[in-house]
């Protein structure tokens, strides 16, 4: 019986057909493409490695230069702070966006529209130059003349602070949509069940919806973190003191432009490699549950 079934109809007398002897489709195109890709990559790498104008020893020499180390630390700190403020901001804005109050939800929508729409470089220059049109930051009670805090913008808004603020505004705008997507992915049934058990909406969000939404939110957040790290390089336009700012400052003195850029690139790659590994492990953890 089984033997007959394994034959195509009409060829019952033919030798027995087995899958192991089947001839797979040959992908000749793929082979040619692979050779081409390898050739292009090898040639490009060679052009850099063998270029007599790039002095690789200089790259090695500056890799652990104290200024470079300080810049790297500032980049990492900026990324961490930017990410923390962005995530907090994103959760707040996403929850506001989903508020039943039309005023609150459209305020959140406007926030997302503005800070996602504006190019980061423009936003950073803008925040970095706030001092041009605002002289003092004053916190007080309106109409009473009571002043709780006041100081010149130039003093408070160091390039570092301006960088973190700019990155956080842009980041929270982007990430709010990710958070909102995660929250929306949790069906109405979960909220109904929580509500029927007497949970108020704050506890429902905190204990029922957010923990489940995290599974949806965390993977894209890993990508956002990597984007944030790379985005910190843009703060060099306001002299944010980050890795790229420092590398460029050094090249301004020693005229080793390409070498200093390579030093910065090596560090960005190193950090991103670590982050990618962490992201991989984290996603595996989440998927297991």
């Amino acid at each position: 019986m089984a033997e007959q079934i394994s034959h195509p109809p009409g060829v019952t007398g033919a030798p027995r057909l087995t899958r192991q002897d089947a001839v797979p489709v040959r992908h000749y195109g793929r082979g040619v493409l692979a050779v081409l890709v390898v050739a292009v990559v090898a040639l490009t790498a060679y052009a850099f490695a063998a270029n007599p104008k790039i002095e690789w020893p200089v790259v090695g020499e500056y890799l652990f230069h104290p200024d470079i180390m300080a810049g790297l630390m500032r980049t990492l700190l900026m990324t961490a702070l930017g990410m923390i403020f962005s995530v907090i901001g994103a959760v707040v804005v996403a929850l506001m966006r989903m508020s039943p109050s039309r005023i609150i939800s459209s305020t959140a929508a406007a926030y997302i529209f503005v800070f996602r729409g504006i190019p980061l470089i423009l936003l950073l220059i803008f925040v970095g130059n706030l001092g041009l049109f605002m002289e003092r930051i004053t916190i007080g009670v309106p109409f009473t003349g009571l002043v709780l805090y006041s100081s010149p913008v130039q003093e408070v808004l160091t390039p570092f602070a301006a960088s973190v603020i700019g990155l956080s505004l842009a980041g929270s705008g982007y990430m709010a949509e990710i958070v909102r997507g995660g929250l929306l992915a949790i069906g109405r049934g979960q909220r109904d069940a929580a509500k029927a058990l007497g949970l108020n909406s704050l506890n429902t969000t905190r204990f029922i919806v957010l923990p489940q939404a995290l599974r949806v939110i965390v993977p894209p957040m890993g990508n956002e973190l990597i984007s944030m790290l790379k985005a910190t390089a843009i703060v060099s336009v306001i002299g944010g003191g980050d890795l790229l700012t420092v590398a460029q400052a050094i090249s301004g003195a020693n005229y080793r432009t390409i070498e200093m850029l390579l030093v910065a690139a090596v560090w960005y790659f190193a950090v991103i490699a670590v982050l990618t590994a962490v992201q991989y492990v984290l996603e595996r953890r989440i998927a297991e549950r």
Binding site: L197, G198, L199
Partner: protein, 263 residues
């Protein structure tokens, strides 16, 4: 029993008075009146879209009603009376009130990130402020009563539909509700798993729980219900003891519906 069937001698456990409700321009409930006595099991039947779920959700204030009143054990649902006027309850008061009414959903709606035991013990600790150890012990006891003593540490994704629904029933019972609402609790189950859930509900009814059950299980309604209520197009068309409503329906609508669903 000298009282008429519609007005039980004691104060009803659930009293739905003149309730109307619309979604936008579409009215889905028309002047519903229904009183459920303590210990009664009322089965709510009717064609799809006739408003059964909506009515059930109004009883524990998951939906706002446009007109009418709902009372559970004598207290107004969602409102309080203040100086002769109704005032909507603040969120926390409304939440406290909801704990008196347990609800079981068609799709179980267990919390997937919690084990069976955590699903059950979570709200008693969080909402009622019960001691954690006591709540877990109570949860374990409830799991045993629904025949799932060995599934305490299982996540919902590891349980069959019937097991999930029994956990969901235990979760609702953990709040020690006065009334239990069931919205088609067996409709999402494979046929061979329906029985285990109905058995739990049968025990619950026998134990004196007040229950309102939306169901298409006519066998269950016939056997367990103290009263069957037939709804159509947002109105109660007919109600009475199961053998009357199911065996000898008086109205055209109920006759048509029953001849379609009864074998």
């Amino acid at each position: 029993m000298t009282a008429e069937p519609q007005t039980p001698a004691d104060r009803p456990m659930v009293s739905i008075e003149n309730v109307s409700k619309s979604y936008g321009h579409r009215q889905v409930l028309f002047d519903i009146d229904l009183a459920v006595a303590a210990g009664e099991t009322v089965c709510l039947i009717g064609p799809s879209g006739c408003g059964k779920s909506t009515l059930l959700r109004c009883v524990n204030n998951l939906e706002d009603i446009d007109r009418g009143l709902v009372l559970v054990d004598g207290s107004l649902v969602g409102y309080r009376v203040h100086r002769g006027r109704l005032r909507e309850l603040r969120e926390n008061a409304a939440c406290r009130q909801r704990t008196q009414v347990g609800m079981v959903f068609q799709h179980f709606n267990l919390f997937p990130h919690m084990t069976a035991l955590e699903n059950i013990a979570f709200a008693p600790v969080r909402v009622l402020g019960e001691d954690r150890t006591a709540a877990r012990a109570h949860a374990q006891e409830l799991l045993r009563s629904v025949g799932l003593a060995d599934k305490a540490d299982a996540y919902p994704s590891r349980l069959s539909g019937g097991q999930q629904q029994r956990v969901a029933i235990a979760r609702a019972l953990a709040m020690r509700p006065k009334v239990m609402l069931f919205d088609e609790p067996t409709s999402a189950l494979d046929p061979e798993l329906v029985g285990e859930v109905l058995n739990v509900m049968r025990d619950l009814a026998a134990g004196g729980m007040t229950m309102i059950v939306v169901t298409h299980e006519m066998g269950f309604a016939r056997e367990v219900a103290s009263r069957v209520v037939f709804m159509d197009a947002g109105r109660i068309v007919e109600q009475g003891p199961p053998h009357e409503v199911l065996g000898n329906p008086r109205h055209e609508r109920s006759r048509a519906f029953l001849s379609a669903v009864l074998p």
